[in-house]
């Protein structure tokens, strides 16, 4: 972003990578897949790189409003300095926080999830999706809570999966009734409370009931939780857990 600014350019969109997308080895593959699609579609985009910092979502949901607002105000200063207008992110938690909680603190941007952005590229004819490797495969989509219930985005990821000529199979609990993967509300960063099962196991059972070849996710944390769930049932050789961006990049052989 700094480089573009120095050259007097404004990108079409700022790609907010997020902590998982920057540091987590699995999520980095999602980041790279998404970047490949953006490059392939000739989208002018920028990342904040080392100037990006945690949105503060996990701190806020853990109850630390101070830390959240500190992070928010620092990020807003950076984003406003670069005159960011449109932000795309592959993390529904970053998406929700930037979209809903930053405006009151002075950060007003058009914030979209990467599945929404890819759908708009598709609608504008800038992105072509062909089934390729996924033609006819059974794919089930796990709704991330912070994309679905929290922000009512249910259709964009489904449209993209259908464009892969795949067979989209719904779990018994989907869309507004979707079950959480167990990572939200800062649970990702702590051990679960005493119970008789882990939430991700319960959710992976829902997914496996649909006999899928791929469990599609739209969130790096859901991705981790579902991957762990699939491993728990020792199904990792039959069932892959992939982000929508990875599905599209793979289908296009990018």
């Amino acid at each position: 972003m700094a480089e573009m600014m120095a050259q007097g350019q404004q990108p079409e969109v700022v790609f907010w990578v997020g902590c998982a997308g920057s540091f987590d080895d699995r999520a980095k593959r999602i980041t790279k897949a998404f970047v490949k699609i953006l490059n392939n579609a000739n989208v002018s985009f920028a990342v904040l790189g080392t100037e990006e910092s945690c949105t503060g979502d996990p701190a806020k949901r853990a109850g630390n409003e101070f830390l959240f607002q500190m992070q928010a105000m620092m990020n807003i200063q950076v984003l406003n300095a670069y005159e960011a207008k449109k932000i795309v992110t592959a993390c529904p938690h970053c998406f929700n926080t930037l979209k809903n909680e930053y405006p009151e603190l002075g950060g007003q941007y058009e914030v979209i999830h990467h599945t929404q952005f890819l759908k708009s590229l598709l609608d504008e004819g800038r992105l072509k999706i062909e089934g390729g490797t996924y033609k006819g495969k059974r794919i089930t989509f796990h709704d991330p809570c912070y994309l679905g219930r929290a922000n009512n985005v249910y259709e964009a990821p489904r449209t993209l999966i259908e464009k892969l000529d795949a067979e989209l199979v719904e779990m018994k609990r989907s869309r507004a009734n979707g079950l959480c993967c167990g990572a939200g509300g800062a649970q990702m960063f702590k051990e679960p409370e005493q119970g008789n099962k882990d939430v991700n196991i319960e959710r992976t059972e829902d997914a496996l009931e649909t006999k899928p070849e791929v469990i599609a996710a739209g969130c790096p944390f859901c991705n981790t939780m579902m991957t762990d769930g699939v491993k728990h049932f020792e199904k990792e050789s039959e069932v892959k857990v992939l982000d929508i961006a990875e599905l599209i990049a793979n289908a296009q052989d990018l």
Partner: protein, 440 residues
């Protein structure tokens, strides 16, 4: 002497309505113990929510069996209460079926009331069976042990008795009309109760008149008792669902409010020109504490939520933590909030209008930290609630108290927060490595 009945009726009515009014006043006082929150913006969307969700029951039918039967009971109760108007006028002025002059329309009204009464009876019996015979998970749950379970059944018995009295009253009235007893004008159609009226055959007119009067009186007195039972039960939702849906949060469910008191502090910290001493002068505007440990720290809409909750348990049955055996139950969060608020209310009543600290609080004495930390903030409970209650907002406010006032987060979360403070990510990675993915 002839007016004795009417005077007695007026006294009973005044007592019933008056005592209820006193409790409504108390209810409003208790709700106002909550913190201020502005929920008057966008009245159009608010009216729309109230019409669709409370009046139109749009969220109830997400579970079709209970949803449709609930609509029967709801429509039945609302419409049959039109009959109340006639009963009150008859009672006060000594008339009988004062609306009979409406003729065909009156017959239609009475006829439809009777059909609805039967449908209500059927639905209520099914509801009873779901709780006591089928023992559905959300009704068998330990959340409801003790009073809440008997409360739910008492309400169902009440409804059975009231509907039966209504039909018996009509049946005896119909019998007297047929017998041509004076005062019993021939009016109304009785599609259901004319099947019941033969049970009075063989009795003399005087006895049936006595029975008719008994049913009539028991019906109206029963309704007044039921009205006054509301405040002591979970059944307040029949009234509070309306304000509750009106004042519900209109923002995207994912949005958690930004604490303004924190915003002020953070702005002071980040503004190099801020004068820390000038800021001191305005500290009276800063609330005594961050987050909530007791009901008075919650906002008034959250307290209204607590009184509105009718313990249906749809929230808990959809909660991922609860489904996997954790202690958290969103329904219990609401019940605990209400029970603590009632305890505070009794304290205020006993101490001449002032709350005397009782060394108890919503946190720990009612809701444990284990419940609070089990929440994934997934909003399933908020989505499910048929009247737009948000247990999640209470959980979040209590977490805020634990973290910002007591520094009592689980160790692993403290580590996560330290990482964010030190290196801008929840994990311990170097901020300077953020772009490494580019070249990997």
């Amino acid at each position: 002497m002839a007016y004795l009945d009417n005077i007695f009726f007026a006294v009973v009515l005044a007592l019933g309505v008056g005592y209820f009014a006193l409790n409504v006043k108390k209810l409003m006082r208790n709700i106002k113990l909550g913190q201020a929150v502005n929920r008057t913006d966008n009245p159009k969307a608010r009216w729309n929510n109230m019409l669709m969700i409370a009046l139109g029951q749009s969220k109830m039918v997400k579970r079709p069996v209970s949803g449709i039967m609930h609509i029967l009971v709801y429509v039945g109760f609302v419409i049959i209460n039109i009959e109340m108007l006639e009963i009150v006028i008859d009672g006060l002025f000594g008339t009988h079926r004062v609306f009979a002059f409406m003729g065909g329309f009156y017959s239609f009204l009475i006829g439809s009331f009777e059909v609805l009464a039967v449908l209500v009876l059927v639905a209520v019996v099914v509801f009873w069976a779901r709780r006591n015979v089928l023992k559905l998970g959300r009704f068998a749950s330990t959340d409801l042990n003790g009073k809440p379970r008997s409360d739910a059944n008492i309400i169902l018995y009440f409804e059975i008795v009231l509907m039966s009295l209504f039909l018996l009253m009509n049946a005896s009235d119909f019998w007297l009309q047929q017998a041509g007893v004076s005062h019993y004008v021939s009016a109304g159609s009785f599609p259901v109760s004319h099947f019941i009226s033969p049970i009075f055959d063989g009795l003399n007119e005087g006895t049936v008149v006595l029975l008719e009067r008994t049913f009539w009186w028991m019906h109206i007195v029963g309704i007044l008792i039921f009205l006054n039972y509301l405040y002591y039960s979970k059944h307040l939702h029949i009234l509070l669902a309306f304000p509750n849906t009106y004042y519900a949060d209109l923002n995207a469910k994912g949005k958690i409010d930004n604490l303004e008191s924190v915003t002020r502090e953070v702005q002071l910290m980040m503004d190099p020109n801020a004068d820390p001493f000038a800021a001191q002068a305005s500290t009276d505007a800063v609330p005594a504490k961050f987050g909530a440990s007791d009901v008075m720290d919650l906002n008034w809409v959250q307290l209204l939520n607590a009184y509105t909750c009718t313990e249906c348990g749809r929230c808990t049955s959809s909660c991922p933590a609860n489904q996997t055996g954790k202690k958290l139950s969103p329904r219990k969060i609401m019940m605990d909030t209400r029970d603590r608020l009632e305890e505070v209310s009794r304290n205020i009543d006993a101490n001449k209008g002032v709350f005397i600290p009782d060394n108890k609080s919503l946190l720990n004495d009612y809701i444990t930290t284990e419940e609070l930390w089990a929440c994934t903030s997934c909003n399933a409970c908020v989505e499910e609630c048929p009247v737009n209650i948000s247990p999640l907002s209470i959980i979040m406010d209590m977490r805020r108290y634990l973290v910002m006032e007591q520094s009592a987060a689980p160790q692993s979360l403290n580590a996560m927060m330290t990482n964010i403070e030190n290196n801008g990510a929840p994990w311990q990675y170097n901020q300077m490595d953020r772009l490494n993915w580019k070249s990997e």
